[in-house]
C-alpha cells in the first residue's frame, strides 16, 4: 500500500517550485507553466466558478494548456459562468464534467452535450456537490478566487467567500494542490479567510478585479401589478396565517415585490416583529427598506452582491461581518440554514405540471439546480420545532404520527412573456430524460414538497389535499386560462374552494384595486439608494440617472 496521492502531490510541488523559486507567489507570465506542472491527464480539477464569483484568470490560463500533453481532465465546478470553462472541452483538455448550475452557459452546454463534446457525470445541488468533494470526487487541484493574498498565502475574500471554504478543505486535506488568483498581493491581508497553510500558490491577476455577477439585483421599476397582487395574497394568505420567522426568498421579481411591500402592506397586516425576522438571502437591494424599517434581525448570505458592500458593512448586527468590518459569506452554511432551519421557502419556476413538479429546464437550455432543491424541500432530517413548522405539519398530517412540515411556496404568473404558459401537462424536463440525456428528469422541486402555489387566480393549499386527485384539481384550479387550468373539473374545484383549499383574493379580503405600484416602498433603483442613505452603490447598468 503506497501513499500515491501524497507522492503525486510532492512530485508536482517539486516540479512547480522550480519555476516559482520556492515561493508561493507565481508570476502572471508563469501561470500556464505552473498549471502544466501540477495538473496531469485524468486529474480532477475543481475550478471556482461559483454562483457569483468566477476565477476568470485561472480559467483562461487553463485553456492555454496543451491538450496533446494534458487531457481527459475531469472538471468539478459548481457554476459554469464563463465561456472558457466550456472551451476546455472543445480543445480536448477536459472530457468529463460534474456541476450544479450553468445559468448563462446553459444553451451552449445543452448543445455540446447533444454533440457529445463532453460527458456530464451529474448535475447536483450545491451542497450535494461539495459533499462529493469529500467522497468520490476528491479534487487533485483546485483553482480558487480571492481578493487579497500575502506572500505566505493567507487569503482575504471579502463577502465573496461563497464556495471557497468547502473546496479548499476538500483539496488541501486530501493531498490536492490549492492555487488562488487574487486581485492584489499585499503586505498584510485585511482578514484571513483561508490560512496560508492550506494554500500552495497565489497569483495576482492583471485586471485586479475578478468577474462577479450582480445576480440578485431586481429593479423595482419592473414590478407589475399582477406580481403585487400575488405578493399581497402570499403575505395575507400565507405569512399572516403561519407567521414564519425563518425564511428564504428565491431570486425573482415576485419575491422582490414582497420584500418591497414589507414596510407598507406588511406593516398594515401587523407582521413586523412577529414573522420574517431571520433570513437566508443574498444581500438583495430590495431588502433595504425593510431593513431600515426594523423588520430584520439577521440575514445569512450565500454570497455577495455588487454595490451592497458599504450598506452591508453599516449593518453588522444583521449581516455576518468580521472584526475587520467586511462581510463574510458561505454558500455551504447558508444552504444548510435554508435546508434545515427555514420555516418557509418562497420561489418561482418556469414550468409547473398538474402534479406540482417544477423545472427551469425549458426548450434547449440546461440551467442545472443550484440551491433551490435544498431550499425548496421538506427537510426529512429536521427535528427542532417552531410554531410555523408545527402548524404546517398539523395541516398536512391530520392523523398518524405528529410531524412538522416546511412551507414550500411557488409564486408564478400563469403566463410569461409572449403568452408562454407556466402550467404545462408535461415538463420539458421529461423529454430530456426520455431522449436519454439524463437518467432522471431534471426536476427542480418535486410536487410532493410543494405546500402552496400562488397565482393571480388564487392560492392552492396542497397541504390540505387528501388525495392525488384533489391535489391535481387544486393546482388546475389556480392555473388560470392555461391549458392545464381550462381542463379543470369545475365541480371539484368549487368544492375545494368551499373547503378553503383554494382561496381567491376576495376570499381573504384583498381588493384588486389596491394592487398597484403605490404598494411598493421603493419604485426604482434610485429610491433604494435614497433608502440606504447613499450607501447602496448600484452597478452602472442599473443606473438611469
Amino acid at each position: 500500500m503506497t501513499n500515491s496521492r501524497k507522492a503525486s502531490r510532492l512530485d508536482k510541488l517539486d516540479a512547480a517550485r522550480r519555476i516559482t523559486l520556492n515561493s508561493k507567489v507565481v508570476q502572471q507570465e508563469n501561470i500556464e507553466e505552473l498549471l502544466s506542472r501540477i495538473i496531469t491527464s485524468g486529474n480532477k480539477v475543481c475550478i471556482e466558478g461559483d454562483n457569483q464569483k468566477q476565477a476568470d484568470f485561472l480559467s483562461r490560463a487553463l485553456l492555454g494548456l496543451d491538450p496533446d500533453k494534458i487531457n481527459n481532465l475531469h472538471i468539478l465546478i459548481s457554476t459554469i459562468g464563463l465561456p472558457e470553462q466550456l472551451d476546455i472541452f472543445e480543445t480536448g483538455l477536459a472530457s468529463r464534467l460534474d456541476l450544479a448550475y450553468a445559468g448563462p452557459q446553459g444553451f451552449r452546454l445543452a448543445r455540446m452535450l447533444k454533440d457529445k463534446q463532453l460527458e456530464v457525470g451529474n448535475i447536483h445541488t450545491y451542497n450535494e456537490l461539495y459533499a462529493r468533494y469529500f467522497m468520490d470526487l476528491r479534487p487533485d487541484v483546485c483553482l480558487l478566487c480571492g481578493v487579497e493574498a500575502d506572500r505566505h498565502g493567507n487569503i482575504y475574500m471579502n463577502g465573496s467567500v461563497e464556495d471557497s471554504s468547502a473546496i479548499v478543505e476538500a483539496t488541501a486535506f486530501q493531498q490536492g494542490i490549492v492555487v488562488v488568483q487574487v486581485n492584489h498581493l499585499v503586505e498584510k491581508v485585511r482578514r484571513v479567510d483561508i490560512p496560508a497553510d492550506w494554500v500552495d500558490f497565489v497569483v495576482e491577476t492583471p485586471r485586479h478585479n475578478f468577474h462577479l455577477e450582480p445576480l440578485f439585483t431586481r429593479d423595482p421599476a419592473q414590478i407589475t401589478e399582477s406580481m403585487i397582487l400575488m405578493g399581497m395574497m402570499t403575505m395575507k394568505g400565507i405569512y399572516a396565517k403561519y407567521l414564519p420567522r425563518t425564511l428564504n426568498h428565491g431570486v425573482g421579481f415576485n419575491t422582490a415585490a414582497i420584500e418591497l411591500m414589507l414596510p407598507t402592506y406588511g406593516e398594515e397586516l401587523g407582521l413586523k416583529g412577529k414573522a420574517l425576522t431571520n433570513w437566508v438571502l443574498n444581500p438583495h437591494p430590495t431588502m433595504i427598506p425593510a431593513i431600515e424599517e426594523g423588520w430584520v434581525e439577521s440575514i445569512i448570505p450565500p454570497g455577495n452582491e455588487l454595490g451592497m458592500e458599504k450598506y452591508v458593512e453599516s449593518k453588522p448586527d444583521i449581516f455576518p461581518v468580521g472584526a475587520d468590518g467586511s462581510l463574510h459569506s458561505s454558500r455551504l452554511f447558508a444552504q444548510l440554514a435554508g435546508h434545515y432551519s427555514a420555516d418557509i421557502f418562497v420561489g418561482a419556476s418556469l414550468q409547473i405540471d398538474a402534479l406540482g413538479n417544477s423545472s427551469t429546464v425549458t426548450g434547449e437550455r440546461i440551467t442545472g439546480f443550484g440551491g433551490a432543491p435544498n431550499f425548496g424541500c421538506d427537510a426529512g432530517g429536521r427535528r427542532h420545532t417552531s410554531d410555523a413548522w408545527l402548524k404546517a405539519g398539523r395541516e398536512f398530517n391530520s392523523c398518524g404520527l405528529p410531524r412538522g412540515r416546511k412551507l414550500v411556496v411557488q409564486i408564478v404568473e400563469t403566463f410569461q412573456q409572449g403568452l408562454k404558459e407556466t402550467f404545462v401537462e408535461n415538463l420539458d424536463a421529461m423529454r430530456l430524460a426520455a431522449e436519454g440525456t439524463f437518467p432522471l428528469p431534471p426536476v427542480m422541486i418535486y410536487g410532493e414538497d410543494v405546500s402552496h402555489i400562488v397565482t393571480e387566480e388564487g392560492i392552492a393549499n396542497l397541504l390540505m389535499c387528501r388525495t392525488a386527485d384533489e391535489r391535481e384539481q387544486a393546482i388546475r384550479g389556480v392555473a388560470g386560462y392555461t391549458g392545464v387550468g381550462m381542463k379543470r373539473n369545475k365541480a371539484k374545484v368549487a368544492e375545494l374552494h368551499q373547503r378553503g383549499i383554494i382561496q381567491r383574493p376576495e376570499d381573504i379580503g384583498i381588493s384588486k384595486l389596491r394592487a398597484t405600484r403605490d404598494m411598493l416602498s421603493a419604485r426604482n433603483i434610485k429610491d433604494l439608494v435614497r433608502w440606504s442613505d447613499g450607501l447602496y452603490e448600484p452597478p452602472s447598468r442599473f443606473r438611469n440617472w
Binding site: S226, E457, E506, K512
Partner: protein, 105 residues
Amino acid sequence: MEHLEFEFNGGSHSNTVRPYTVQGVVSSGNLEVLIEHKDLNGKCRFSIDTAAEGFGKTWEAVISNFMEKRQPADLLVSINDYAASPDIVSLRLDQAYEAISGGVK
C-alpha cells in the same frame, strides 16, 4: 387588429356607484377597460379591439367567468388590448368592476 363583440344575459347586480370607470393603460402586454352603466335591458355587452388575433375562445372564457362570478347587469364594457395575457384581462375586469360597483369586501 381584431374586433370582437360578446353579449351576455346579465345577473342580479345592477347597482353602480358611478356612471363609468377606466382601468389600465394600453401598452405592451396590457390593456384599458372602460365600463359604463347603460340600460341594456339587463344585458351586458363587451366590445373588444385587440392586437392579438385568433384568441376569441380565450376572450369568451375570461368574460364568461367574469359574468358568472360577478353576476352584473346593464354594463357596456369597451376594451382596447395590446396582447395582454388572460390573467391581466381578468385582473383589469375585476378592478374596473370593483370601481364601478363600489367594491367587493
